[in-house]
């Protein structure tokens, strides 16, 4: 009964005026808390974003900004001392934060797939690729081994690897890094998920292969209308393949909006800093411009705007009050006191 009622309720409360049919993921005011002996602290402090079917969202920020934890919290797999303390994650009309372990397990790897940084680490070293793929299919579909095998072969074809039959019998160490990541992508495609969360999928790869893998991922997502959350610190990649971008800093989204708009005219000083920090050869500059200082630890966040100690345009109000997120006319949302309406 709740299954039918839930989406309607959701539709009225949070997606007002929005075409509900197209909405895939809605993260509202998500907070992730880590309870350690030294005390509780929040790694994600109220993050909200949404994703339509087939839309690509880039989640960028420095290491430790809470990007990966946000990604993991979508599939409700935050490791032990951490837990979702507030907010909800609506996926296909269901609140993932409130599902039971077994219901969540069914969604994981079936409707939502995740791709990690290092393909060497994520594949089981002592099992053949075939075994790992067939196991995955069997965990989610009531099919015979032969059918599971056929599905695996088809997916390996889809990620453009030749002679899939032979590949199924090979072990992960027999593949190169790029090939391995292709296999990982093939595994994530096994159940035709609606959403793929890619956590720095190309960081561990060669530069030449990065482009190939990114292109493949983009093609697959576009052709199958899959939503993509791309977690990365590579702004160049994000600007090329995503429609929307969300910039995270110290557990908050400081700026979000259409990728082209945000990259062309960054409003938040942090976003500006990130873009300026990209190496540019055109201007003949000798030094890279960097953002001074480091990101504050999550245990002792500064009062006011978390970015103020590093901000060049810091004012009195920034030190005392935390800026609210405001929506601008161009569709960009920014959390900064300096931005004019």
């Amino acid at each position: 009964m709740t299954r039918l009622e839930q989406p309607i309720a959701v539709c009225r409360t949070c997606c007002e005026g929005y075409e509900f049919v197209n909405r895939l993921l809605d993260v509202n005011n998500l907070e992730v808390t880590f309870a350690k002996r030294a005390g509780k602290f929040q790694a994600v402090r109220g993050v909200s974003f949404s994703l339509d079917k087939g839309e690509h969202l880039g989640l960028v920020g420095e290491s430790g900004a809470g990007k990966s934890i946000t990604g993991f919290s979508i599939i409700n797999l935050i490791s032990k001392p951490g837990y979702i303390s507030k907010g909800n994650i609506l996926f296909e009309g269901r609140d993932l934060a409130k599902l039971s372990l077994e219901e969540m397990r069914r969604i994981r790897g079936d409707r939502i797939a995740m791709i990690f940084q290092d393909p060497m680490m994520t594949l089981n070293p002592v099992l053949t690729i075939g075994t790992q793929m067939i196991e995955t299919v069997l965990a989610h579909r009531r099919v015979s081994r032969a059918e599971a095998r056929d599905i695996s072969v088809e997916r390996i074809n889809r990620v453009r690897i030749s002679s899939p039959e032979r590949r199924l019998k090979q072990y992960p160490h027999e593949f190169s890094g790029g090939m391995r990541q292709r296999i990982v992508i093939a595994i994530s495609l096994l159940t035709d998920p609606a959403l793929i969360i890619a956590d720095e999928p190309t960081t561990a790869l060669d530069v030449t292969i990065q482009a190939e893998i990114m292109e493949l991922l983009l093609d697959l997502c576009t052709s199958r209308q899959m939503g993509l959350v791309l977690i990365t610190h590579d702004l160049a990649v994000v600007s090329q393949i995503t429609q929307r971008i969300a910039v995270m800093y110290a557990g908050l989204i400081v700026e979000t909006g259409p990728t082209a708009e945000v990259i062309a005219t960054p409003r938040h000083p942090y976003t500006r800093g990130l873009i300026n920090a990209l190496p540019q050869t055109r201007h003949g500059e000798k030094r890279l411009r960097q953002i001074p200082g480091v990101m504050p630890g999550l245990r002792n966040l500064p009062a006011g705007c978390a970015f103020h100690p590093r901000c060049e345009q810091c004012r009195d109000i920034c030190i005392t009050t935390q800026p609210e997120r405001r929506t601008l006319a161009c569709g960009v949302q920014v959390a900064c006191h300096l931005v004019e309406e």
């Binding site: 599939i75 994981r108 790897g109 089981n124």
Partner: protein, 310 residues
């Protein structure tokens, strides 16, 4: 046929075979072990006398010394025991019993230990604490003591007659129950190490159920210490069996094992019949030494960080 040929080629080109063929100790102990195993499991054909058939015993031949001594007889190359049984045949049959008990007990230990260690290591928390404390308590008694305890209970509950009839099976159970903690601890330790690796996380992300992650993903990665410990445990189980039989709690005299042979000769060692104890003893030592040497080799091979000959 094609698959067979392919596997054969894979085996012939494998690193294991290469390393094995360059280790004379490993080759030597493997050869001896194979010979001993073959001879003992083919006992009905390799032994001259069937020691289970009491009708063939000649009491008059009791205490015949080995053939090369003065009063020795050609029929009994290693002499006879106090019942007039041919010692050579008894050793062959006895070794078969000992090996059977050793392998059986290790199979049981491995089953218990792997299940408990896997669940304990993967689940963690209270269940882990409980299971490991049980293992600790059992380890704080000597395994022999636990085995004596269990076998005393079995004998009391089932009766001596029943115990003698199913002695092999019961000894397997006794030794299996007495030594599972070693397995459980080893498996748990490697599960704990494997659990932190990213492929386990990835398996959870894929949505595999916990039981599948344990058995299909973690266990194959945790198997190499299990292999090593298995060889050593076979030797241990054979020794436990010998010790129990020596104490009179193991195999009955009518069904000789190496331990019960040593025991039956021990009574006569000072009255001159030293061979009844000595030859089974030598066999036991050889068997255990060979198995342990192979276990050592396997450990060195599976753990390349331990270079002995650097």
């Amino acid at each position: 046929m094609n698959i067979l040929a392919m596997n054969w080629r894979r085996f012939r080109e494998s690193q294991a075979l290469y390393a094995f063929l360059r280790d004379p100790v490993a080759i030597g102990s493997f050869t001896i072990l194979v010979v001993l195993t073959l001879v003992s499991f083919l006992a009905p054909w390799t032994a001259q006398h069937n020691v289970y058939d009491t009708a063939t015993l000649e009491l008059l031949d009791a205490h015949t010394p080995p053939a090369w001594l003065d009063q020795g007889l050609e029929r009994y190359p290693l002499g006879t025991d106090d019942q007039g049984r041919d010692l050579f045949s008894s050793i062959i049959f006895g070794m078969r019993t000992s090996l059977l008990i050793g392998l059986g007990a290790v199979a049981l230990q491995a089953f218990l230990g792997i299940c408990i260690g896997l669940i304990s290591g993967y689940t963690g928390g209270r269940l882990d604490t409980l299971l490991m404390r049980v293992a600790d308590v059992q380890l704080s008694f000597s395994t022999l003591m636990v085995a004596i305890f269990i076998s005393a209970i079995f004998e009391a509950v089932l009766g001596v007659g029943f115990f003698e009839r199913y002695a092999v099976l019961l000894l397997v159970v006794i030794i299996g129950l007495a030594e599972w903690p070693q397995y459980a601890r080893t498996v748990r330790a490697s599960v704990l190490a494997e659990k932190k690796k990213e492929y386990v996380e990835a398996a959870r992300v894929i949505g595999l159920p916990a039981s599948r992650i344990m058995w299909r993903q973690i266990l194959p990665n945790a198997l190499s210490p299990v292999l090593v410990i298995s060889t050593v445990q076979v030797a241990n189980a054979i020794m436990s069996e010998a010790a129990l039989s020596f104490l009179g709690l193991g195999m009955p005299v009518t069904q000789p094992s190496l331990g019960s042979l040593i025991k039956s000769g021990f009574t006569y060692i000072f009255s001159g019949s030293w061979w009844i104890t000595l030859f089974p003893g030598i066999t036991l030592v050889t068997l255990i030494l060979v198995i342990n040497l192979l276990g050592d080799w396997l450990r060195d091979y599976l753990n390349p960080k331990l270079y002995k000959h650097m």
